[in-house]
């Protein structure tokens, strides 16, 4: 399977990612209980909710990192939860980008190495990979920092590098889990500003998990997760067609 076989237009309803009636438990703890959600191609969707409500678990299921106990995960017209482990890993590398709250950069490597890494894993040539990394540095206001080790960066710089690394492979979907969670207000805003600006330019879809309403206000739309269920803006549980 190549990444290109997966590049299909979203279905007629415009849905790029869809989860239907997901259940996921960790031991006796139910994390998702009949959770359903559709994400349209190109939209920035905020997933809000109190801590422990199941937001991260939902994101991990949507991105094929976790397999749900029950329910369906669709991406671009395909059942993600029915792919083999290798198939899912390949799909994640080619079609998804990730930004988390902490600890996603390799501290011993330089900023440029970190950004080029996903391309190198996808067998892009060294030269092309580093050229693209360089272009992303400029785009995110990180000029001149390419040779720094990521352990030496400020929190805001590190999140911008993480953003560059997530987007360098031109993913269809960016999954961001509390990307501003460890930043102060102004730095967090700058990261959100950049994230929404560049993903709109790239036409990427964004699933943004945050408990912070000021961060969610950068999104086009929001849903709430409460006790493992997805709640829409009217307070009703989200249902999707089977």
């Amino acid at each position: 399977m190549t990444s290109f076989s997966l590049r299909r237009d979203p279905g007629p309803d415009g849905c790029l990612v869809e989860v239907k009636n997901l259940y996921k438990s960790f031991g006796a703890t139910p994390a998702l209980v009949d959770a359903s959600l559709s994400v349209r191609g190109g939209e920035v969707l905020a997933v809000m909710g109190p801590s422990g409500s199941g937001k991260s678990t939902l994101l991990h299921c949507m991105a094929g990192i976790f397999t749900p106990d029950k329910g369906e995960v669709w991406f671009d017209g395909q059942r993600l939860d029915q792919l083999s482990d290798t198939g899912r890993t390949q799909l994640r590398r080619s079609a998804f980008g990730f930004v988390f709250q902490f600890g996603q950069l390799v501290p011993e490597l330089t900023v440029s190495d970190n950004i080029a890494l996903p391309l190198l894993l996808n067998r892009v040539s060294r030269k092309a990979a580093y050229a693209r990394a360089e272009a992303w540095l400029a785009r995110l206001g990180l000029d001149g920092l390419g040779e720094r080790r990521t352990g030496e960066l400020s929190g805001g710089q590190a999140q911008r590098v993480a953003l560059a690394r997530a987007l360098v492979g031109q993913p269809k979907v960016l999954f961001a889990d509390e990307p501003t969670g460890s930043l102060d207000t102004l730095t967090g805003e700058m990261v959100m500003e950049l994230m929404t600006a560049v993903t709109r330019e790239e036409g990427s879809t964004v699933v943004l998990v945050t408990h912070d309403a000021r961060v969610a206000a950068y999104a086009d739309r929001e849903v709430m997760v409460r006790d493992g269920r997805v709640i829409d803006r009217s307070g009703a549980q989200v249902e999707v067609g089977r």
């Binding site: 309403a213 206000a217 929001e222 803006r233 009217s234």
Partner: protein
């Protein structure tokens, strides 16, 4: 300028909320003016008492507008002995007010609190009202964020920020209240 307009909005909120709140209280059952005042002070006064004069002037305006009927005068008595009942017009006004999210402006807390308690008293779906209010707040926050992103004026950006922080505070209150609706409903019904 901005602060001043917020101040007037607060005043306006109090002026429009009192009649609607009295109407809501009347929707439970027909009541005398002093009963309405007692319940208003108890649930919504927040330490401040509603003057009797305001109760009766509000009720007579509501009667004039056909939102309450003020029949049942007991013989030989002033306004205090009148029993008021809500009319269909009054009831539909309460319903509409509870259902419609309030305009998301800063300093709304007392209006939101009043709506939630009344909704619970009247067995309305307070949770979906709060969800609608939440959505309305987030829409406004999105607009303000867009202003911040696009404006070249630092002053506009800082004013938008001020509103954003206050709306965020409202939203936190909305979330905490949503999570505690059952307990609040019990208190309201236990009166």
């Amino acid at each position: 300028m901005y602060t001043l307009s917020v101040y007037f909005e607060c005043m306006l909120a109090r002026v429009t909320v009192v009649p609607l709140t009295l109407l809501g209280l009347l929707e439970r059952e027909p009541s005398h003016g002093y009963e309405l005042k007692r319940d208003y002070d108890n649930y919504f006064g927040g330490g401040r008492q509603l003057p009797f004069g305001q109760v009766y002037s509000t009720l007579s305006r509501l009667a004039r507008d056909g939102k309450v009927s003020g029949g049942d005068t007991e013989p030989g008595a002033g306004p205090a002995r009148k029993r008021y009942a809500i009319t269909e017009l009054g009831a539909s006004e309460v319903d509409e007010w509870l259902r419609e999210p309030a305009d998301p402006e800063p300093y709304l807390q007392s209006v939101l609190f009043t709506k939630v308690v009344l909704a619970l008293m009247l067995d309305r779906p307070a949770d979906s009202y709060l969800a609608a209010q939440r959505a309305s707040h987030l829409n406004r926050m999105r607009e303000l964020t867009e202003i911040k992103r696009t404006t070249s004026s630092l002053m506009d950006a800082l004013q938008a920020d001020h509103a954003l922080f206050h709306l965020e505070a409202d939203l936190r209150w909305i979330d905490v209240t949503s999570a505690r609706l059952e307990a609040l409903a019990e208190m309201v019904h236990a009166r």
